[in-house]
Amino acid sequence: MNTDIVKLEQVNISFSGKKVVQNVSLNLHSDCITTLIGPNGAGKTTLVKTVLGLVKPNSGSVWRKPGLIVGYVPQKLHIDSTFPLTVKRFLQISRNITARDIAQAVASVAIEGLLDSSIHGLSGGEMQRVLLARALLKNPQLLVLDEPVQGVDINGQIELYQLIADIRKARGCSVFMISHDLHLVMSATDHVICMNQHICCSGHPEKITNDPSYIELFGAASAKTMALYAHHHNHDHDLHGDVLPADGEHQHQECNH
């Protein structure tokens, strides 16, 4: 059964008089991947930070399920180079974290080889995996990702989205993420929210790509590509572009919206 874990109602946020988020209401459900898309400056990150409790809305209400454990992968993590830090130490976030916890998180994102590396020398893709491992350490019920594929090449992006989908399946946690490219997250998302200060449209990915307000925001060409892609989503491509046989594993789990 899907239950609500986060509820936002009529949330308004403005920074020095400028309205950033207007009248946004949304529900996040357990065991469901929700993707937030929208142009630059649409208030996506602000909305994500509201869900996390980092930003307090000017009006409206934010409800989180009591005791909800949240894992957060920020858009960009700059660690000052004066701060000596290995990946292993970065994952040791509190005294309660055991070596076994770290080993589990590390295995689920496949970064075993990086444990003793300095955090300052990681590539974009490696850093995202390390951040994902850290977010998984406390066994979160909700995983929040702000543009998790930023600075990662196209193959790496596909892999990362697949990894997020796999983690959701293995752990049964809910995922709320920002993406700028619906095309790539299509096969790994259950629910899409398209926003530009306010929510323009929301629903199942295929429905969104045909929505007039989505086409207005992203252009007809983009919608067309996605509509085409949508017809193909019952199978999957591997990294070389070969078609993999469709199987039950890659089908969407429907959410009740």
Binding site: F83, P84, L85, Q92
Partner: protein, 265 residues
């Protein structure tokens, strides 16, 4: 005893250096060196107020530094001026206010140089108790809150999502730095305290692969600088504070120049 004052200065200096190691590391990591300067300058205001109100100078300095730390944290929440501007205003205002207040106290014979640059002759057993108690409090708090403080230093938002009370931790860190600056003032003086925080920590950076190692190494290097500086000060009759800072600077240079020298041979 003839050597008592040197022994007191050594014990006091080593005590301060031990606590300054980890706190100095935070000052370096979080780019707070100007904050340390501002608090140090306010310590002179504490001296003036202490003499004026005829209360214990150590208490006056500590209370003044802690109050200023709280005022700074509160004022950082406004967005009209940047923190460095705010720190500049507070540092120089409190220093000037302290000097003006001292000039009003006619009968008190105050050796201003001792407060500005430190004087090991002025260290009394009572000061050692202040350093010991203050230092022990800071070390205990640091040990207890270490994981949260490290998390906060890596990234404040990530730490907050993970359940760390970031604004409390930030305030606690500033209060601890204020306390150490207040008790360390007699050793190196108002003008040079920040250097005891940042030079050993900066020296420890190239030799460290973990934050814990950097903090401990900073303590060890700080202690070395204190011992070398004070012994030199006694031997050559140089001022205590500057001698310690020169020793710290030499250690820093040796560590940073070492790879270059090695590369040449």
């Amino acid at each position: 005893m003839f050597y008592d004052f040197l022994l007191y200065a050594l014990i006091g200096g080593i005590g301060v250096a031990i606590v300054s190691g980890p706190l100095g590391a935070f000052v370096v990591w979080r780019r707070m060196s100007y904050f340390g300067d501002s608090l140090a300058h306010s310590a002179l205001l504490g001296v003036a107020i202490g003499i004026f109100l005829e209360i214990n100078l150590n208490i006056a300095i500590i209370v003044c530094a802690l109050l200023l730390a709280v005022v700074l944290v509160a004022m950082q929440k406004q967005h009209f001026i940047a923190t460095d501007t705010l720190l500049g205003i507070m540092a120089h205002s409190s220093l000037s206010l302290g000097l003006v207040t001292i000039s009003f106290i006619e009968d008190a014979r105050i050796d201003l140089m001792a407060f500005l640059f430190g004087d090991l002759l002025t260290i009394l057993p009572e000061d050692l108790i202040w350093i010991g108690v203050g230092g022990a409090c800071v070390l205990l708090l640091l040990y207890y809150y270490w994981p949260q403080m490290i998390s906060m230093t890596i990234n404040e938002e990530l730490a907050q999502v993970e359940g760390v009370n970031v604004s409390n931790m930030r305030l606690l860190l500033m209060l601890m730095i204020a306390l150490v600056i207040a008790v360390a003032m007699k050793i190196v003086g108002v003008m040079l305290i920040t250097s005891l925080l940042i030079i050993p920590a900066a020296s420890a950076r190239p030799l460290s692969s973990s934050p814990e190692r950097m903090a401990l190494l900073a303590s060890a290097l700080g202690c070395t600088a204190v011992v070398l500086g004070l012994v030199a000060s006694y031997q050559f009759d140089t001022p205590a504070g500057p001698s310690v800072v020169v020793a710290a600077m030499l250690i820093f240079m040796v560590i940073y120049l070492r790879p270059t020298l090695k590369g040449r041979t």
